[in-house]
Symmetry: D2
């Protein structure tokens, strides 16, 4: 049945090449293809399935809403479903954290939220430049692409990408450079050639960029620096938010309060398109209708998102995420230790973790080996050199062990089958 995809779907398709199966059903951390073959999911929809596939409570809410003939499409009209989501989001997420934000529904995808954030930051400040970071990933539309690091994606724009300045992310240069001091000087110096920016946009953990975790100190320093220069801080929490790093927002660990926050991916809980831009109340200077979009009011997503927020009524989920994350990293540490030829480096926080492998092509081979063992896992990083381990947050203990064992086996298989001198040669050249 893959033929219809080859015949009909654009060459741009990617994951269907990496995972050549036709998927049919899914539950929790498991996927099943049309032949009934079972796959374990350490991919989690690239962060859109933190609560696993087809969570029963959300499923029940969706079916009930559909059978009730609940309004499905509503642009930005008021609906009962949206009202409940807003109220629940306030009660469960914002209020307990002492956060105040207005909520914009800028269209249902992450890149809609990023584009809205850039527009609003420019409107608020009257400035053009956005500071972004090395290895950042923010989306594929023209504004979001201009602040994305990956050169292959950037090249796809077909026009020069402008109005952005890239700065080194935390630890991009290991010891030699204090990236905050660098940014501070470039922004403050009237002779630097860097125009005063409207905003600094960042992921607190870069996912696509190779699982790079910014330190809490760096995040606090950045927030202070931005405040000092009256530059807005935008946190793109599309992949790292909704509990992926443990707490609901990935920036909670640093105790900072961004001016604007982009959420999407796991926000709907069920994998349905939904995105919000959170705006500090005093910065909500939009005119009515100044940004719009057809699918701002995706009510099925409001329904599942409201149900998903039940996970946040107490601290069970973040504690579990922290515990599972430690387990994952301990296994990955062991893998790296067992295979010194891999020259692997374990990275991560909460349940976004990975092994960076400097030898080109190794990470992709591990992913292929894993798929042959029915584990779905992908690579990250500008050169696809990081094996990215990202199960649903709700994965149970057995599935987690099973998947980690497959990761171990897959790495071993790749290391074993490669000629010994490949590594020797690599070591010599590095």
């Amino acid at each position: 049945m893959l033929q219809v995809f080859e015949a009909m779907e654009s060459e741009v398709r990617g994951y269907s090449r990496m995972f050549p199966a036709v998927f049919d059903r899914a539950e929790g951390s498991e996927l099943f293809d049309v032949d009934g073959r079972r796959y374990l999911d350490f991919f989690a929809g690239a962060g859109a399935l933190n609560y696993g596939h087809n969570d029963p409570a959300m499923r029940a809410a969706l079916v009930a809403y559909i059978q009730h003939n609940g309004v499905v499409h509503s642009l930005d009209m008021a609906t009962a479903a949206k009202g409940e989501f807003l109220q629940r989001f306030h009660d469960v997420v914002l209020e307990p954290r002492g956060l105040e934000y207005k909520v914009q529904f800028p269209g249902p995808t992450g890149t809609n939220s990023v584009e809205a954030a850039l527009k609003l930051a420019r409107k608020i400040t009257g400035r053009h430049t956005i500071v972004s970071f090395t290895n950042a990933f923010h989306g594929m539309t023209l504004g979001a692409l201009s602040i994305t690091g990956n050169s292959f994606k950037r090249h796809g724009a077909g026009v020069p990408l402008t109005h952005s300045v890239v700065m080194p992310y935390c630890n991009y240069f290991e010891d030699e450079l204090d990236s905050l001091a660098y940014l501070d000087t470039m922004v403050a110096d009237d002779g630097s050639g860097v125009d005063k920016p409207a905003a600094i946009i960042l992921e607190t953990v870069q996912a696509e960029g190779g699982i790079n975790v910014a330190s809490e100190q760096w995040l606090r320093g950045l927030a202070a620096l931005a405040r000092g220069h009256e530059i807005l801080i935008i946190v793109d929490d599309i992949q790292a938010g909704c509990g992926r790093t443990g707490p609901f927002f990935s920036f909670e660990r640093a105790g900072i309060e961004p001016d604007l926050v982009c959420l999407s991916k796991s926000l709907s809980g069920y994998g349905l398109p939904l995105s919000v831009l959170l705006i500090k109340p005093e910065l909500d200077v939009w005119e009515p209708g100044e940004h719009n979009g057809t699918f701002r009011g995706h009510n099925l997503a409001f329904v599942s998102a409201t149900a998903a927020l039940s996970y946040w009524k107490d601290d069970t989920l973040p504690r579990e995420t922290a515990r599972k994350g430690e387990l994952v990293r301990s296994v990955l540490d062991a893998v790296v230790e067992d295979h010194p030829q891999l020259q692997g480096e374990v990275r991560g926080l909460g349940l976004i973790n990975g092994i960076a492998c400097p030898t080109p092509g190794i990470a992709a081979q591990v992913v292929r080996e894993a798929f042959s063992r029915q584990l779905i896992i992908e690579t990250a990083g500008p050169d696809d050199n990081v094996v990215k381990v990202m199960p649903p947050l709700v994965i149970d203990a057995e599935q987690l062990s099973e998947g980690l064992q497959i990761v171990r086996d897959s790495v071993r298989a790749v290391v074993d089958t490669m000629p010994h001198n490949t590594f020797a040669a690599m070591e010599a050249t590095i």
Copy 2:
């Protein structure tokens, strides 16, 4: 219950101000608010609800898929639901029309599709400039915004919008200008200052721009002109496609075959976010993964979209749309005739129609009057001067009559309550 929206939702919200109710349920052409009040829908989700709200066959398919635990979120992996959609789209839409297109899923919103089209056109040609038209509307992300006409929306970008050239749409200048000859000269002349464009993007009927219908002759001339200069033609059929003008594609009436076609809005049938970019096979030069996005694989939308294509197995729907469209225009003609003070002009094709009212503010008053009579209807045009009449295609005869009567009554109410000399003054100044 509107308080939660005022307290929590960004000032950017628009329709909830125009239609101050909290909607709960919907069926076909009817909406119900939380107090059970019924509203007739002549708005159809701005074109996203051509098949009405909560079509029973689609609803059943959705519930069955959800209860089956069908995969909901799949990025661009192959799924059974996507395969069925592709096959059905081929069998019901492309093959019978002798069209060959590859299908890209660029993200679930129209603007994702437009951004992908611009990127691909620039990649194919190696050129930067996109020609768009006066009063065009293509979306809110930075690339799409650069080819959108509305100055209020454009201003929201916060940066200058570049790499686009605007040309007069069909009949933008009434008699005085042959807009195709103008475009041809500007593109062909080495001294014109217009860089050779990668593509020309157009809506065959401009919806947001004020319900402007391009003539078939103009569309054919434009296609010939583009071919002659080796410029790509992109049809943005996001609002006018999926049967809104009668046939599935709005360009069928002109017998042209665009190089790229953007579809969204009613594509999923059920108001769920879904978008495709159709690409002539020889132009499908994407590299795998060169454009991506989290919600490219929205399987609930594939399921409802597949069900929606059942409407296209024969020509009942387009014939009905044509018939209803004639009825709508005959009523609107009568309205205009009955109220010469309105100086109204009826515009439209199929079931996208409207009355342009030159007096500022009149169209908005008609909309308010209609809402007070429980009819949902909106304005279009750069100055909101067009009353836009756009019921679901599947509306039944009684509902259509009922709604048109409300339009009549609303216009009459506006005309009657305005001081007579307002119109006199207007006439004097125009």
Copy 3:
């Protein structure tokens, strides 16, 4: 001696290919090469030598100044030479015409002046877009290039040219289009997609663009339109100013007063680099030093420019220019009439005139024929299809007759030696 140029000078050189001689001396309307061969000059330094070569009074002033050890280079310090120029410019040019302008010395070339004008217009209005016209030519630096029409020159930028919108010049479309109504609508309509411009820049007679003369009515209409929309008017009078069309400023015939005026080329009188930007006093919002440049204070040019203004103490020169212009056009009319195969069209005003020849390559052949007869003359127009006849304003009657006779002979030679069927073929395809 041409070898040193071939060996050492960049391939970018152009005129030395068209006029393959090494020039040594010059007087009035005559040039002499190193072998003493005499050439008549109907080119006048592309407008920089309106007063001919090496005018004796200016020569004497220059020699005296140099021998006095007058300050030659002074950036924008005050010098006696600059003070005299400013006073003379005020007394002879501005005051008698009732014009009030502040004078900026933005660097000594025309493109410096254009760049300064664009910067100032954007600063004054806070807007980005500049409206320019089809076939405009304003210079080669990045800002000036973005408002230049010629695609070959534009392509040289190597980056997309932005922040400009091109509009049809007077009579660009013959009967079919009222270019002012077009511009008015595009600027006024909130849906047109044309961002409100900071300024409209124009040449009142397009020189490089093919000798296109804007009508007085059009110029007045344009000025009124700009005023109505609070858009600045910049006249680039670099080539058409300093008497080339008769009066000192080319816009005098229309009775308009531009907000900003760029002058260069013949301003120094002696072919020395000098440029000014004239600024309405209330628009002189520059901060000290906000625009600078090393050669703003070219005192030799001030000295010759002051001397050159002696030509403007009475109306002898403009009257002579008008008279000679009529003579030129009558001869060109006769040439066109004598050679119907040429399909020539005579264009021009004052002493900037030419024959447009639709057959590709013909104008260049005429120029080559003329050079073989020791007349220096060039082509204009985006496809080099206009024979441009532009002697010094001070040319004497005999030289003018002699040159015009060579033009006649050259056209005849080209027409005679071309196969008859070339024209037939041309006519068939046009």
Copy 4:
């Protein structure tokens, strides 16, 4: 007589405010105002007067040429004067240094040359981005401004400046950062977000930027880095070239050969506008006429430039420059030592030297004090915090001593008259 400047000249004028006199005559290192007051010149036309004012040999050549009726204005036609300049430049500058360059005359100002270099680099490579450095100064036209560091000048553009990336110059960050490693990583990393540049443009000594001298090692490293990534190197030698640092080209000390070199300022020798772009022969890919300009052929400047090259027939001038430079720096060192409150830092190379003074406003006060003592000297640096000492290279020993004594006296006067606690306060806050 300053009134005419106030009444007539734009507010943009700067030096005439700093040096409020009306200058008349000049010889060597001396200027005289209209009242006969003598001023010593430690400014040298911001680098345009390396050979002093009105050098007798050049003066004689100019007068002879003018009296011979030599062609003055010639666009890019071949002239005897240009041929002689090219031959002399080859014989005296290029050949003895083993350099091969084609010569483009891009217009007579430095910014013309920079704009041409950017265009050519983009054409050669097909890339858009230009890397420039912190505190760079390259000119005021739009392309040159986009690679200039000074925020006040940049702001004057009125549009966002694009297609450039700024990197830290040598020692911009003192110990903490290896600026070459930083640049190398940002250019090489596919995830950095820095698009591969067409060229890197630099001054080997930044003049306007505050007299920052790049080390020879850094220059060699930069050249190697650029070669490794196939990025062009453009040296803007407009101010530091023509002997200002000692050798003719400022890059000779590092033994590098840039791909493109911009020269202007002192090139003509006499302060006349002249500029060249030197192009490695294999990179001379211009089409004829692809870049043009009215004053490319400024023959008076060719004549004086040819005469000026007589200074380069042996190594007297560079040896003298080195010797005088050491003297200047030893005096400046003493000044700094004598006045610890100044916290001064001596910078420079050859005869471009200065004292950086961290206390805001101090440098400007020194300049005013010096002017009151009839020494012309200016500030440099983004905050005007560097006293820039730049006499003509040909200054005689007595004048040099006299001027340096005035510098000493002026610094002392400033230090003495300032309240002591100002410095204390400064020290406390730094």
